[in-house]
Amino acid sequence: MPTVLPTYAIDQSEVLHVDAAGTRSAATKGQTPITTVRPMVTKQPTGEVTQPVKIRAKNVDFFYGDNQVLHNVSLDIPEKSVTAFIGPSGCGKSTFLRMLNRMNDIIDGTRHTGDVLLEGSDVYAPSVDVVLLRKRVGMVFQKSTPFPKSIFENIAYGPRVAGLRNKAKLNEIVETSLKRAALWDEVKDRLNGSAMALSGGQQQRLCIARTLATDPDVVLMDEPASALDPASTARVEDLIFELKKNYTIVIVTHNMQQAARVSQRTAFFFQGVLVETGDTRALFTNPTEKQTEDYITGRFG
């Protein structure tokens, strides 16, 4: 007697498309799915209307060579708040994050379809200057990546390449950036010391400070705390919470507690598909999708 085994493979012809508001609609591959993104508003649990949309992705597919890693992702990211991307490793959340400031451009053999809009304008339009885009949409990586230079030079790098020569202004930027990244008190006496000599947690905050120094609107963070010890993680999380007052923050994390702690909105990715997105508290307490529930209750991933 042949038994039909349950399968988790997603049928490509019936990808479930979940739009920003959480309504489900069936999207068939090859045919433009319905993209009724709600007007530039998201709802908080209190029911009050809050931030406008900063970044909007519409029907994004992404390929490494012939390998499709993102399937028809559509998502809104509200301004001045923290949006978390969660999902098992290899689900495409980092790839999607890297699309937002076109970091994938520097990898050979990648291509995409669909649109990513920053404040309504397409970041992949031919007229877009990637250098300018990346200045506005900064990024912090999983592994802290201080340049082998002094702390001061690390922070001053962005403004310097942008053409700032004024020493007083540079000093000011370095100080404000380090203060915003809550690192100033620890390093103010050794700004000319090597950045490589800092501890892992300090290095990561240095990288955040370095990003802030370029004066971005959006800060993308790719698992910024995954390589840190709990104390450093807590500091980075506090920092993220602080930063959302001035910046739009998107954070990729494999740590669901972290997502719950720092973010207002959460998007769950699975096998290249954006399964569900919504208010963080709602998503964690009352997920609409079976897959989301399985993931957050630890049944896989």
Partner: protein, 334 residues
């Protein structure tokens, strides 16, 4: 705020221009290598045109440019490379086997490894000075004036070994061997390292001894890599000039080592083969140098023709190495 943005945008344009300019500078720098190569080859071919003919390849050097040929150099270089290969291959592979398969990481092993990388950087002319003292004069242990000859009678002829060796072909080969030995050892080490340890473990698990494992498993797997390294090293030896001059190669010679002009003579008169290693010699590179230094204009064309022959030989050598490498990559896939 918006002023800043405008300023940034204006600067950004300039930064992009600088970046593009820089890219072109780097591109041109890389392209110039191609240009140099093209000009060099074109120049050599242009000068050699009409001079590289059959008489050039089969004739001996002459004071008259029209009659001068490369035969002595061709035979000299062939003998040199043959003997260099005979000495270097077993010694280089042996040393690499010892360092990779036997040696433990002790002070002596580290000394050998450090020494190898330093030897690879010693100027070739210094090897010539070693060669002339150690091989040609044998450290002056036997003075050239009252030197003697060691005669070994073989069935088909007599091997006459002069002591000290003097400015003979064998001394040149010894010198070139020492010169390329570090290169061969390092290349062989890399080839041996590329053989996965699992092969060795499997062989040991079947009860094979160390040498059996090396002889039947490791060495066969590493042979393509070793062969590639050896051929490249030999092509370097083929292009060497300075050490041979110091060792005492003849710049003008009108006969081949052992008077062996055609391969047939090796069979007809084996004694010539036995004489060749102890005869005086010249090489393609030495002949080229000699022609370059001649005042008559036509000799420059001969130098170009000689260079062209040398380059063609090198291309053949390198092509062989590439073919071996590609074949091995196709066959073995771990």
């Amino acid at each position: 705020m918006s002023d800043q943005h405008i300023e940034y945008a204006a600067l950004l344009k300039r930064r992009h221009r600088i970046s593009t300019c820089f890219e072109w500078v780097c591109r041109i720098a890389t392209g110039s290598a191609l240009l140099f190569l093209a000009v060099l080859l074109a120049g050599v071919i242009w000068q050699a045109w009409g001079w590289l003919d059959i008489e050039f390849l089969t004739g001996f050097d002459s004071r008259r440019p029209g009659k001068a040929g490369l035969l002595a150099g061709l035979w000299g270089t062939s003998w040199l490379i043959l003997f260099t290969a005979i000495f270097t291959v077993p010694m280089g592979v042996g040393a690499a086997l010892y360092l990779e398969e036997y040696a433990t990481d002790n002070r002596f092993t580290r000394l050998i490894k450090l020494n190898l990388s330093n030897l690879a950087g010693v100027p070739s002319i210094v090897y010539g000075m070693l060669g002339v003292t150690a091989f040609v004069r044998m450290f002056g242990m036997i003075s050239a004036a009252d030197g003697w000859t060691l005669a070994v009678s073989l069935g088909f002829g007599t091997l006459e070994i002069p002591l000290p060796l003097g400015r003979c072909l064998l001394a040149g080969s010894f010198t070139l061997s020492l010169l390329i030995l570090p290169v061969v050892i390092i290349a062989s080490q890399e080839a041996l390292r590329a053989v996965p340890p699992s092969i060795r473990h499997a062989s040991y698990a079947l009860g094979a001894t160390e040498w059996q494992t090396i002889r039947y498993q490791v060495l066969p797997a590493a042979i393509p890599g070793i062969a590639t390294g050896v051929i490249l090293a030999l092509s370097r030896a083929m292009g060497e000039t300075a050490p041979l001059i110091v060792v005492g190669a003849m710049s003008y010679v009108a006969f081949t080592p052992g008077n062996l002009d055609t391969p047939m003579q090796a069979v007809q008169d084996p004694q010539r083969v036995l004489d060749a290693p102890f005869d005086v010699f010249t090489s393609i590179t030495i002949q080229i140098t000699n022609w370059i230094e001649q005042p008559k204009e036509e000799f420059q064309n001969l130098a170009a023709a000689g260079s062209l022959v040398l380059l063609i030989l090198l291309v053949v050598f390198n092509a062989t190495a590439i073919v071996i490498r590609n074949r091995a990559q196709k066959k073995i896939s771990w």
